[in-house]
Subunit: 440 residues, 2 copies
């Protein structure tokens, strides 16, 4: 009676899904609200930096030609004809053997082409007029930050889709983005299924557990950059469920369900997909946990049928829904960064499917350590909050031992990588497995 499902590889599931990726629109938010959004357009320099020739130090602006020949035995004397602070413009033209006291960041006065550092000038006053002696010559251009030497007007400083961190905010301010074009966050609907589920505010009763997956995924959607919408739990009645899904599709960009994708009597989703006439892209993926993860397309819209098992639900979201959300936000690097780490525990039992184990990233002597969490019965729940990596263990006929190199997917990463990089790292992981003896 049990339906036979053919498992496909994780990367094949991603590729099928990516055929239906969508990109959202752009809205403007005040710069104060931009942190945590994603650039909706490339961030472009609207002016040269510096915008004018300026002094990088406190000192005296001079004409370099007047310093020629200055030495300890033959100092040159300059008359200080004024002072210029940052933000001001010195109005007069500076003449022969004249100098202007200049502050860090101030504009070089007309006529000057060098700045003498404060400590090289011996200052004194005669009859209320300020002078200094200089015992070293300056070259033209010395101690001047020239217009555009940092950044030319028109330079792309960050690409669309970039996560807006404090450094990006500084750039936005520098270049006059009072209103910042940001990617509109996709609306991601969440429906929980499972007759054993109580809502979070309900008292426990025998046989039941509280619905934690929906809230977990809700937070994962936020972390990924989406706008989650919790649409409640499925009813026990098939027709009502069908209407729930149909109506949800009109309200959201993507729809996630948790649970109900296995082949049991209580699992309505395969039937709902069929009745919708949806295109099932995959309903079995060669991965643990989460092999029942189902991805479906209906009228160009993606539906993610995540597992009801909390670990599988978590992993399915990060591998599949997360990059689809980031694509919507205009980035070219929608996948989480993968790096090499040393496995911190044994996984002696072989598994034909690729495993993605939640873990906590440790560091030892400058190396990354992949510490699995929730392996023991006694800490599945309590260790959940520590997860910041997925440890990827390619499927095969052999197990893994502590000390081997493995790939880890960095869950808190904001930079991201392309699909090609995401997949390339797998190859490395397979290689380490073949050569596992080397790494023990």
């Amino acid at each position: 009676m049990v339906e036979r499902r053919k498992p496909i590889k994780v990367q094949d599931a991603i590729q099928r899904m990516m055929n239906y990726k969508k990109t959202g629109s752009v809205q403007y938010v005040p710069i104060e609200d931009s942190y945590g959004h994603f650039l909706g357009q490339d961030l472009i320099a609207d002016h040269d930096v510096p915008f004018f020739d300026r002094s990088p130090y406190d000192g005296f602006a001079v004409r370099a030609m007047d310093t020629v020949g200055a030495s300890r035995s033959n100092p040159v004397t300059f008359e200080v004809i004024g002072e210029i602070g940052a933000g001001s413009v010195f109005q007069e033209e500076v003449g022969k053997k004249q100098a202007v006291r200049i502050m860090t960041g101030a504009m070089i006065p007309k006529g000057c082409d060098a700045v003498v550092m404060l400590e090289l000038a011996t200052e004194y006053e005669v009859n209320g007029v300020a002078y200094f002696d200089l015992k070293r010559s300056s070259k033209a251009g010395e101690n001047i930050s020239f217009t555009g030497e940092d950044t030319k007007k028109g330079t792309v400083l960050a690409s669309k889709g970039t996560f807006i961190n404090p450094g990006i905010v500084a750039l936005l301010a520098t270049f006059g983005y009072k209103e910042v074009p940001v990617s509109v966050k996709p609306k991601v609907g969440i429906i929980a299924t499972g007759s054993e589920l109580l809502e979070v505010g309900q008292s426990l009763e025998p046989g039941k557990i509280r619905n934690s997956n929906a809230y977990m995924v809700y937070a994962q959607v936020k972390r990924a950059g989406g706008e989650p919408i919790y649409l409640g739990q499925f009813s026990d009645d098939f027709d009502t469920c069908f209407i729930q899904v149909s109506e949800a599709l009109d309200k959201v960009d993507f729809l996630i369900t948790t649970g109900g994708v296995s082949v049991g009597d209580y699992d309505y989703l395969p039937e709902i997909y069929e009745k919708l006439g949806a295109n099932v892209l995959c309903n079995k993926i060669a991965m643990r946990p989460g092999s029942v993860t189902t991805i479906v397309e209906y009228n160009g819209q993606l539906l993610f049928g995540l597992s009801g098992n909390p670990s599988a639900c978590y992993v399915g979201f990060e591998l599949f829904t997360r990059p689809i959300i980031r694509e919507f936000l205009h980035t070219n690097t929608p996948f989480l960064k993968k790096e090499v780490a040393i496995l911190g525990a044994d996984f002696k039992k072989a598994n034909p499917f690729d495993r993605f184990v939640r873990g906590h990233l440790g560091f030892k002597d400058g190396r990354l350590i992949a510490n699995p969490i929730g392996l023991d019965k006694s800490n599945v729940v309590s260790s959940l909050g520590q997860a910041d990596i997925l440890i990827q263990l390619p499927g095969g006929s052999r197990g893994y031992e502590a000390g081997m190199e493995v790939s880890v997917i960095l869950l808190e990463d904001q930079e991201g990588v392309s699909f090609d990089s995401f997949i390339k790292q797998d190859i490395h992981s397979k290689r380490s497995k073949r050569n596992e003896g080397r790494y023990v």
Copy 2:
């Protein structure tokens, strides 16, 4: 004329400041809004997990005593008297040689003390009654997840002050936190100073630059977990500035100013502190950039006088203001995590002060690489958005070379460390410096 200031060590400045740390209050937010907040109380299990003895697999619940002696040549036959899905309770008591078909997660029926996995049962039907033959005996307790074996009621699952990530949200839901106690975020006021500053919406003019520090710090406050309040720019008039600062102190928990802390004529802050009668904890710190960073206490309230130089402003915030904000949020680990990385570029020029260089964390063969950014004149601005570490280079008489081990402070870290760990890592860094030959 120039005031002499005595530099103190970074760790001494932190310790002086920590004498005036404050802890905020607690408020309740709906669980949906809890992601990105910080736990205001310890997260405690309100029930055992599992809450009842349950089946970890699909199978048949049986009485182990009935399986005694079952073997290939002598199978035991069981009558299947019912079925139980997750969320349901089987009402009858299971008797001799009886079994109940049980789904993953469902409660073990009364009388049963073992679960036989589906693949070990040979099922058949006789006159509409379901049976299965079993060819192996089960032990009492086999394939049962017992009440409380994962987590005991009352266990502390995460400490107050913990950043609420998706895993923590799952725990909050599991344990019935429909409303979550979160730390109230401190109000952090920001005032920008500098006569060269234009506001972000203003057109550029000669000699001026747009105010980027205030917006950068605004985002840094958010990342740290505070609630930033931008109070605008200082006026050019001392008395007005004094009133601005005095009034700001009534509205905020902490006050940041950017710029105006040097000893120049345009730097009002030292004078304002004096007129307030504030207690200057430090006005010179042995660090680069940011040696002018000034920390002041007035009636128990901390004022951070950050440098007007963007790098110095950024670094001063992360080293000093950030831990004060995290303390307010109830954490015991308010400092950013420090790890060992391989330096990616030369810093040949020695500096007597500790340097904190903004950098981008790279990875190579499982090792952390510290890539400095903004070192060349040509990319100070454009590389700003990439900063995710501060590279710490202890002061001394020698420079640093690419390939040496250095400490890096992880700017995106949410876990944090205690003051002791933060300082301990410094010692390591000093050691690597002494042994630098080894690491090149």
